[in-house]
Symmetry: C2
Subunit: 205 residues, 2 copies
């Protein structure tokens, strides 16, 4: 076993966390106006009024900044979905809300003014850590709802839970993933209701 390191942690000013937040806020604003792909850290530094070196003290790369913005965005979608699920009564209604609200929140954050689409597209294409973590959390939430429905007797219990959850996630994915969602924009009005009805039929005991 390794001994716990006793070397002192270098003292960091209390302002670090605030500076990071400040950079993220300015970068979100800047990227949403000029695009993520086209902007360099130099552009960003100039726009914020910081030196490039100062930004690199807090973020090791443009992608690290993008990842933080992306993670914030995905957390916002997730918290909308969790709130809608918590608010709904029975498990079937929770599942319906999950389809509906995840589509709406994804549309709003990725496509309203195409604000964050650029970053979300890079994140999805390159399968950033923030995306993987988000997908895992959505799958867990889905499993929780399924589990609850199995316990309440609303959902069948013959099919292995993993299998059910994965198949339903595949059905939801075209409306969660921004790269897929961009080609589904003409179906987002009706698809969540039609697909959740199909899924609920598949879950009937």
């Amino acid at each position: 076993m390794k001994k716990a390191s006793t070397s002192p942690i270098p003292a960091r000013g209390p302002a670090d966390h605030e500076v990071r937040d400040q950079i993220i806020a300015a970068a979100t604003e800047h990227f949403s106006r000029y695009g993520y792909e086209k902007t360099t850290v130099s552009d960003l530094a100039k726009a914020i009024g910081f030196s490039k070196a100062y930004i690199y003290k807090f973020f090791e790369s443009k992608q690290a900044i993008g990842e933080m913005i992306c993670a914030n965005c995905l957390h916002e979608i997730e918290s909308d979905v969790r709130a809608a699920v918590a608010e709904a009564g029975l498990p079937p209604e929770k599942l319906r809300r999950m389809f509906k609200v995840s589509t709406e929140a994804s549309l709003r954050l990725f496509f309203q003014d195409r604000k964050l689409y650029d970053i979300a597209a890079s994140a999805a294409t390159e399968n950033w850590q923030a995306v993987q973590a988000y997908e895992a959390r959505v799958q867990n939430l889905l499993q929780d709802v399924l589990q609850e429905g199995r316990q309440s007797g609303d959902f069948e219990r013959k099919t292995p839970l993993d299998e059910t959850a994965m198949a339903i996630y595949l059905v939801m994915r075209p409306y969660l993933n921004p790269l897929l969602l961009q080609y589904n924009l003409d179906t987002t009005e009706l698809a969540p209701a039609q697909l959740s009805s199909l899924v609920l039929r598949s879950l009937s005991p």
Copy 2:
């Protein structure tokens, strides 16, 4: 009522149909090597050894050539799917085959060497006539299979047929549409089986 026109139909040499086929074959070969988007009718004429004017005698635009190639490609996918459905025994198995074979045939035609992806992507983006017709035919085939399963007692009959068919089509679509399929390449191995199992659970009487 209009009287039938008695004006003589202009005589067309019997070679017309053969020339069209020859242009399509050469264009398919050329596009698959150099891409559809980047190639002009002039490039194509030069490569085939025809004059540009001669090609325009048979096709009014590059898109008209692309549409014909695309239609051929979609017909090939469709006939693979129809053969697989015809070969399968019971309606549930027909549905499974439909998911599996449509995904495999789309993958092969759109992505093997990315041969026809370029044309298929334009066709899907611009919603060409050939694509609309293909989608309608696949939806009809799906309805036929569902209808057969309802008659045999394999599938439930409570949900309106239109609603069932549309929801199932939405589940299949990410594996049929080349723009969506390009982002699903890592799930094509398992997804058709997982999704058709889910769909079959949703259809149980």
